[in-house]
């Protein structure tokens, strides 16, 4: 992947497929590191499955035999001497999965974050009936989006209406230009 934002788009799709009603995408930056957390309240995975998701030859799909999404994100983190972990729970009350990747931003092999706004709007466009919470923090500054808030204002207007997608895009871009 040319941009980390593409890995984010790709791995967040797994949350939607796991029937998450809320997927949180959290980015936190320090001088030297970028931490990405993708947290969902989907069905979760048992211990055995959690161990196999970083194996490129594991996939739930039947159209092909490989599943590269999670391994590619793991690789992107580890090639910067960062770290990667997956935690999951299938409990009745608290089910869901959290994927955490830590990157060393100053490492030669750090993949730039790229157009994260585009990844967020693409997720909402493709999955208007599930909710996303996005937060990108750097020091005191924060860019956020919570589709639950938008849904409350919009009523029955679908989140993937062109006007709404454009609004989200502008809303995020404005925050990036003033706070970052």
């Amino acid at each position: 992947m040319k941009e980390l934002s593409l890995n984010i788009l790709d791995v967040a799709e797994n949350s939607v497929k796991a029937k998450a009603t809320l997927t949180e995408i959290l980015l936190e930056e320090t001088e030297d590191t970028l931490t990405l957390e993708i947290r969902d309240n989907g069905t979760g995975m048992d211990e055995k499955t959690v161990k196999s998701v970083t194996d490129p030859f594991y996939t739930t799909r039947t159209t092909r035999k490989v599943g590269m999404g999670v391994p590619l994100l793991k690789l992107a983190a580890e090639q910067t001497d960062g770290s990667f972990s997956v935690e999951s729970s299938v409990g009745e009350e608290n089910h869901g999965t959290t994927v955490t990747a830590v990157f060393n931003k100053n490492h030669l092999d750090f993949t730039p974050l790229g157009d994260v706004v585009s990844s967020i709007t693409t997720l909402v466009q493709g999955h208007p009936d599930t909710d996303f919470y996005f937060s990108h923090r750097k020091g005191e500054n924060e860019v956020t989006l919570d589709t639950r808030e938008l849904r409350e204002v919009l009523g029955d207007v679908p989140l993937n209406s062109y006007e709404v997608i454009k609004w989200i895009e502008e809303y995020l871009k404005e925050q990036y230009s003033s706070d970052f």
């Binding site: 790709d10 092909r64 590619l72 808030e149 207007v157």
Partner: protein, 126 residues
């Protein structure tokens, strides 16, 4: 600054449109957005379709949606066009430029761009 009040205005404006959309979607454009598609450049292709369908005023006729991997990863980005009563058209190795053309010629004027379809790609061996 963008505010939630603006969304309220969008809601008011959309009230009539939403009713219209119930029986719309004569044409469905589906973009492959699995790992293979995303890595090959599907994100800008999808966004171009969303933009162009709107700028050509086709929102009530065309819906743009996303799907996973359909198993022909080497041809990604792949875009399928479904239209009632017609055979599915599969465009392969798409780019934002090709997407613009597909909206203009195929979605708007009904002319399939054979050159970009999978049938053609296989004949000439890509």
């Amino acid at each position: 600054m963008k505010s939630l009040a603006e969304l309220q205005a969008i809601r008011e404006k959309m009230r009539d449109k939403v009713v219209l959309r119930e029986d719309s979607g004569e044409i469905r454009v589906v973009v492959g957005m699995a790992t293979c598609g995303i890595a090959a450049g599907a994100r800008p292709v999808l966004n171009t379709f969303v933009e162009e369908v709107n700028s050509h005023g086709l929102n009530n006729k065309v819906t743009v949606s996303q799907t996973g991997c359909i198993g022909i990863c080497q041809f990604e980005p792949v875009v399928e066009v479904y239209e009632a009563g017609k055979e599915k058209v599969t465009y392969v190795r798409m780019t934002p430029e090709k997407a613009k053309e597909v909206v203009e010629k195929h979605l708007k004027s009904g002319k399939i761009i054979a050159e970009y379809t999978i049938t053609n790609d296989r004949l000439i061996g890509g």
